[in-house]
């Protein structure tokens, strides 16, 4: 799922400084799972912001909402009544959710309250790690199900580099070397032969973000 982290208080306070009444909108999906922008975080942040503003003599009125999925039009549109009552929206959804509100509410500023960080998995309670960069052409079949695009610091398709030492990456000592993991995994599957051939250069320019705005159109689903 999408992982995010709340922005520093100072940055949030600066962004909402011009406003006296805002809507603080969380999201019930990914950011709830990673404890960055669910209903609980909306409540906590709203209290903290009210106190901070009261302290400097500029009280702030905050309406609170946490739609099930802020990135879906029907849930986003449900916020219209609340949005009519405020000067700005502070969103704790990911960057997608912010932009859905921007699309439906052209006249009101929508400010991000989190930094959208990566597509990742939960390693343990409170620990998440990146697993996918949505590169547009999945190569996991070739690499034993471990993604070097998201997990190797140099995105090597024919790793590991010389900085792989005792299973760890030289860039971040706490990070496993993705190519050591790939090697170990293919070794245990008896598929090391997959590493004998060069994986050719990736077509970043036609498959990935570099190709320009990506869009999926499913004719069978269109109304």
């Amino acid at each position: 799922m999408i992982k995010a982290e709340q922005k520093p208080m100072e940055e949030i306070l600066k962004a909402i400084d011009p406003y006296k009444k805002i809507l603080l909108s969380g999201c019930g999906a990914c950011v709830t799972v990673c404890h960055a922008g669910g209903e609980k975080e909306v409540g906590l942040l709203a209290s903290a912001l009210r106190m901070a503003r009261k302290k400097i003599g500029k009280p702030l009125e905050i309406l609170e909402a946490t739609p099930a999925r802020q990135c879906e039009p029907e849930y986003a549109q449900d916020l219209s009544e609340l949005i009519e009552k405020v000067e700005a929206v502070l969103s704790l959804a990911c960057g997608v959710g912010v932009q859905t509100l921007v699309r439906y509410f052209p006249k009101i500023p929508v400010l991000p309250g989190v930094n959208t960080t990566f597509l990742g998995e939960t390693l343990s309670h409170g620990v998440w790690e990146e697993r996918c960069q949505a590169c547009g052409n999945c190569i996991l079949e070739k690499t034993g199900g471990i993604c070097p695009i998201s997990r190797c610091a140099k995105q090597l398709l024919n790793g590991p580099c010389g900085g792989s030492s005792k299973g760890k990456c030289e860039i971040k000592k706490e990070a496993d070397c993705a190519w050591q993991l790939i090697y170990d995994r293919l070794s245990s599957l008896g598929q090391l032969y997959k590493l004998e051939e060069m994986i050719p250069a990736k077509r970043w320019g036609v498959e990935s973000r570099d190709s320009g705005l990506r869009r999926i159109i499913r004719e069978d689903l269109k109304i």
């Binding site: 610091a153 140099k154 995105q155 090597l156 398709l157 024919n158 790793g159 590991p160 580099c161 010389g162 900085g163 792989s164 030492s165 005792k166 299973g167 030289e170 860039i171 070397c177 050591q180 090697y183 170990d184 090391l192 590493l195 004998e196 051939e197 060069m198 050719p200 250069a201 970043w204």
Partner: protein, 307 residues
């Protein structure tokens, strides 16, 4: 001949090659290049010019290589995939070969976070093996990577790459070398060797796959200046193994720098005896003045003149 460089001629005649290394200045001061070049000239067959090593911004390896040619030294231009996409890579190869550069070392490059521009975006459009494949395609097919597009002129490069027998996973390093050979590499320069036992194990694996007959392997050495340097490298540089007895020897020496040179000479002599090692690559980092002494003591002088 693929490129007709001095290094290629020496290796193809079966002579034991010696290469050195020169780090360009952190600016445009040509006198720094000149000073280092003078210390290496005549003692090595070709000089590697690093490409913003450890991601510290320096004079470009292409420009520095071109200066070396003017000074009568043959360069091995290093190129990393860290800072260039395939458009820039191929364009720079056009330029470099037009300037007379005949050897090129294909590298992934040190991660940008080690350097002095940590906020930069790293590129890695290709990796080092794909870069080898790209250069070979340009040279042997006369086309750009992945295309029918014909190149105007002729790319003549002797293609090199690095390999680190001391990185992990150890058993995979030779498989990866084989990939580089298949991609089209002509010569390999290794990471600096201190753990002779492990290097010999690696060379045996190289010979078992018959790779020593397909690629010229130049063994990397770096003279140790002091006990502190030995300890620092052993502890902090990933992919370098320095056995305790070597650290001890340098630490306990009355004159550690002299002992370091002596050790380096012994290493060269031992490496020379290993089947499949076709030369040494001496990386005397900011200690270029010792290269003349090392090559003299190791019996590598005078360097052969080949036609």
């Amino acid at each position: 001949m693929k490129a007709g460089s001095n290094l290629e001629k020496i290796l193809s005649k079966g002579l034991f090659a010696v290469t050195g290394e020169l780090g360009p200045p952190k600016g445009n001061d040509v006198s720094v290049v000149k000073r280092k070049a003078d210390l290496l000239k005549g003692y090595v067959d070709a000089v590697n010019v690093t490409d913003n090593q450890t991601a510290i911004v320096r004079m470009s390896s292409i420009a520095t290589s071109s200066l070396l040619i003017q000074m009568g030294i043959e360069p091995v231009m290093q190129m990393t995939t860290r800072d260039r996409n395939r458009i820039a890579i191929q364009s720079d190869i056009f330029g470099a070969t037009a300037l007379g550069i005949k050897n090129m070392l294909c590298l992934t490059g040190d991660h940008h976070t080690f350097g002095n521009q940590v906020d930069s975006k790293n590129v890695h459009d290709l990796d080092s093996i794909q870069l080898i494949d790209c250069v070979r395609t340009m040279r042997d097919e006369g086309t750009l990577l992945g295309g029918e597009e014909k190149i105007e002129g002729k790319i003549q490069l002797f293609i090199g790459a690095a390999e680190n027998p001391f990185a992990d996973p150890f058993e995979f390093r030779v498989v990866r070398l084989a990939k580089k050979v298949r991609a089209g590499v002509d010569f390999i320069q290794t990471q600096c060797i201190y753990d002779m036992k492990r290097f010999k194990e690696w060379m045996k694996m190289v010979r078992d796959r018959g790779l020593h007959e397909k690629v010229h392997i130049l063994a990397g050495v770096t003279p140790l200046k002091s006990g502190g340097m030995a300890r620092y490298m052993a502890k902090n540089v990933s992919g370098i193994i320095i056995p305790e007895e070597i650290i001890d020897r340098i630490v306990k020496a009355k004159k550690p720098a002299e002992e370091g040179i002596k050790l380096c000479v012994e290493q060269i002599q031992e490496l020379r005896e290993i089947e499949g090692v076709h030369g040494v690559h001496i990386m005397a980092i900011e200690w270029e003045q010792m290269v003349s002494q090392i090559t003299e003591m190791a019996g590598l002088l005078p360097r052969p003149k080949v036609e």
